[in-house]
């Protein structure tokens, strides 16, 4: 039910503006989708349909591109996106255990959003700050040399900030 309500409240004029501004010539589908996701936080079905129509593409092509690239989301995300690095250096330093700690402490699986919509837990291939391994980002903030205890503290701090 909640998901349906979110879908209904989508303001398509934003999509129209993006299409008008960025749809210039061939190759504009990906930039348009990127802008749309920036605005909406994810890509609701109606927005994808609108973009397909605006760029004169079959909806299947738009959906095909959206599902091909890891950057695009079909579901709304939490306020804080937690991205746990699973690059090689982080892997040999125990990245699996970091994801596991977040997953346990937030009670969500990798890729899911907490029921209060505060956190989305994701795994990424490499954040490129290998000397700080294992690393995770919460929003734009980077946290290095993590372990399970540090993860627990981190979540606690964010929750405290939110309730303050």
């Amino acid at each position: 039910m909640e998901a349906a309500r979110v879908e209904e409240s989508v303001d398509l004029s934003v999509a129209d503006r993006i299409i008008a501004e960025h749809a210039s010539g061939s190759g504009s589908l990906i930039p348009v989708l990127q802008k749309a996701q920036e605005e909406y936080g994810y890509l609701p079905k109606q927005v994808m349909d609108r973009i397909a129509r605006g760029l004169h593409l079959p909806p299947a092509s738009v959906y095909g591109v959206v599902t091909f690239y890891a950057q695009f989301r079909l579901k709304p995300v939490g306020k804080h996106i937690i991205r746990v690095c699973h690059g090689t250096a982080c892997h040999v330093s125990g990245a699996d255990k970091i994801t596991e700690s977040f997953s346990r402490d937030l009670s969500v699986e990798d890729g899911e959003t907490t029921s209060d919509r505060l956190f989305t837990l994701e795994s990424v291939a490499c954040l490129g700050c290998c000397s700080l391994a294992p690393v995770a980002m919460v929003g734009e903030e980077t946290f290095g040399r993590l372990d399970g205890v540090a993860v627990r503290r981190l979540i606690k701090d964010y929750r405290k900030q939110e309730s303050a």
């Binding site: 589908l29 990906i30 591109v65 091909f68 950057q71 250096a89 040999v92 255990k97 290998c130 399970g148």
Partner: protein
């Protein structure tokens, strides 16, 4: 720049920022203002010593610049009082200065910086800084005195080969695109650096974006193109922002755009943000992505030089390759070719990471050995553990064992080991890492990133992953190693692009050099590195445990019991083998058996 003022620059590469460099910068800014100090404060890119971030360089009149390391915000007040205001120095914080020996000098002494010539030395957001160190002189020279053919000949003579990993001679590639028929041609800079454990190109883009733009413009002149694209990962927001600034500055100053510096040559550059697909590092997939489609590779020929972006002749080079170009033009092909080995000239940038003491961004002359990089530059293995292997080339590469550490860095020697030069990721592995698990890790990556076009890659990597998962879970069967080898050979043969053709490499090299580890998992159900969770148990050593309770508090699943000041015990059924208790125990009382 005013030579009479104190200049301070804070390293704001992604590594520095992750380590808190923005807070350092803010705190210096605030401290300067509150103390009323006369200082020119700026930023720079990556200085290379990622393991000592945040790094701050101070240049005082009449003194060589000094690099202060690990200068977190809380250390800033002392730095400002004693060094900036007091005119003294804090010896133990200095990481590098020309007038003295520093403990970390070994990190630099075997390096040769061409691609990283300006990284950490200039403000990447100021064109004046780039011009002051000789920037755009190469493009100026090319436009004023060289024909297109001469430029191509010069690059050919330098021996420069593609730094994206494959090592194709750059001059030859430019020659193909130059000869291709067509009025419209494109230059693409491949900045879709996707290997996990690799951040060379990101650092170059963040630290010296103009060098890449200049390289692209020279390539454009040589092949007869007036439009360039930079395809950069969206995960590199700082790089994208700085490229945007640099393009605007260069256009403003007449180094990009129509009729550059009054010549007949025009060149424009656009940035295209990737959307998160590893396969887009492959050139035909990358072009499909720029065209707005799913990034799936296609059969070659036709090669991009003849039929590339929007079916026009296209020349694609990697970031590092292009950043070499201006240096070669200014210093001459002979100076570049003087470095390196018979078949591999110049330098290579590596992102040195993993279990090494000094991890960071390093640039070495070709021909140096892996051992020199790990031991002399990297300062050896962390925590006194044993050097086991170096993983090179990411998911397309392989693990080179310590016994082959004297292999020189050149394309052919590395290929002989079964690994590859790759784009420059070098992850050092110690004896606490399981090689079967490393193979599983990479297969998990390639299996997820396979675009799905070729059956052998799509299904084959999945089957290989399942077998590796089975082995690391202690459920390996006799014949698994042979089955992996058979699948590997088939996937290599039956895949269209580099992703599939090289995906089995991490498995094949670990089988080749660490077959005994595979056999131990399969036959004895033992993980020799004590890393695979299904095959290990955590226990508390009675004589060492003082009952402090740290482990009990750290355990996330309440698997540890025991009264205060009494022996604690781990319940193996509840224990998830996360290892947190062992990390936290100060009595060395927890062991893996």
């Amino acid at each position: 720049m005013d030579e009479q003022r104190i200049r301070i620059s804070v390293g704001l590469g992604a590594c520095g920022i992750a380590a808190g460099a923005r807070k350092t910068l803010a705190s210096i800014e605030e401290g300067i203002a509150s103390r009323g100090l006369d200082v020119e404060l700026g930023i720079s890119g990556c200085m290379g010593m990622c393991y000592r971030e945040p790094l701050v360089e101070i240049a005082r009149p009449g003194k060589p610049p000094e690099v202060y390391m690990e200068l977190s915000a809380d250390r800033v007040p002392r730095f400002l009082d004693e060094v900036v205001a007091g005119g003294g120095e804090i010896e133990e914080w200095i990481g590098r200065a020309e007038d003295r020996d520093c403990p970390d000098d070994g990190f630099f002494s075997k390096q040769k910086r061409i691609v990283l010539r300006n990284a950490g030395r200039i403000n990447p957001e100021r064109l004046e800084d780039y011009l002051a160190v000789g920037g755009y002189r190469a493009l100026g020279k090319v436009l004023a005195e060289m024909s297109r053919e001469q430029v191509i000949e010069e690059i050919k003579a330098s021996g420069l080969r593609g730094r994206g990993g494959a090592g194709f001679p750059t001059g030859l590639k430019w020659g193909f695109a130059a000869k291709a028929a067509g009025d419209v041609k494109y230059i693409i800079c491949n900045a879709d650096e996707g290997d996990p454990g690799a951040f060379m190109d990101r650092s170059v883009l963040e630290s010296d974006p103009h060098a890449v733009l200049e390289g692209m413009a020279i390539a454009g002149y040589a092949v007869g193109s007036s439009q360039g694209y930079i395809y950069c990962r969206a995960e590199y927001p700082i790089a994208i922002r700085r490229l945007g600034i640099a393009i605007a500055q260069a256009a403003e100053a007449g180094w990009l755009g129509d009729r550059i510096q009054g010549s007949e040559f025009s060149f424009h550059i656009k940035i295209k943000e990737g959307a998160g697909a590893f396969v887009c590092g492959e050139e035909t997939a990358l072009m499909a992505s720029i065209e707005g489609r799913r990034g799936m590779p296609r059969l070659r020929p036709p090669f991009p030089a003849n039929e590339g972006l929007w079916k026009k002749p296209t020349n694609i080079n990697n970031v590092e390759t292009l950043a070499n170009v201006p240096w070669i033009i200014v210093n001459g092909a002979a100076a570049y070719a003087a470095l390196g080995t018979e078949s591999s000239k110049g330098t290579k940038v590596f992102a040195l990471a993993g279990k090494v003491n000094r991890g960071g961004l390093v640039e070495v002359p070709m021909g140096i050995t892996i051992r020199e990089i790990v031991e002399d530059i990297g300062g050896g293995i962390k925590g006194g553990k044993k050097f086991k292997a170096a993983q090179m080339g990411g998911p397309s590469g392989g693990c080179i064992p310590a016994s082959l550490a004297d292999t020189p860095i050149d394309y052919e020697s590395l290929n002989k080991t079964g690994a590859i030069m790759g784009s420059g990721g070098m992850v050092v592995i110690d004896d606490s890492t399981c090689m079967v698990d490393v193979a599983r890790f990479f297969l998990d990556f390639t299996q997820k990133e396979s675009c799905g076009k070729c059956t052998f890659c799509r299904v084959g990597t999945k089957r290989m992953l399942e077998i590796l998962e089975r082995i690391t879970a202690g459920e390996g069967k006799q014949g698994d190693i042979e089955l992996l080898e058979e699948l590997a050979a088939t996937i290599k043969r039956g895949s269209l692009c580099g992703l599939g053709q090289t995906a089995p490499n991490p498995v094949l090299t670990t089988i080749r050099y660490f077959r005994d580890e595979y056999e131990a998992h399969i036959k004895d159900k033992v993980c020799p590195a004590k890393a695979c969770r299904a095959l290990i148990t955590y226990v508390i050593i009675e004589e060492n445990c003082n009952g402090c309770g740290v482990c009990k508090r750290a355990c996330p699943v309440e698997a540890i019991s025991g009264e205060k000041k009494e022996l604690h015990v781990i319940d193996p059924d509840k224990c998830t083998r996360c290892g947190l208790c062992m990390d936290r125990c100060r009595q060395d009382a927890i062991r893996v058996v």
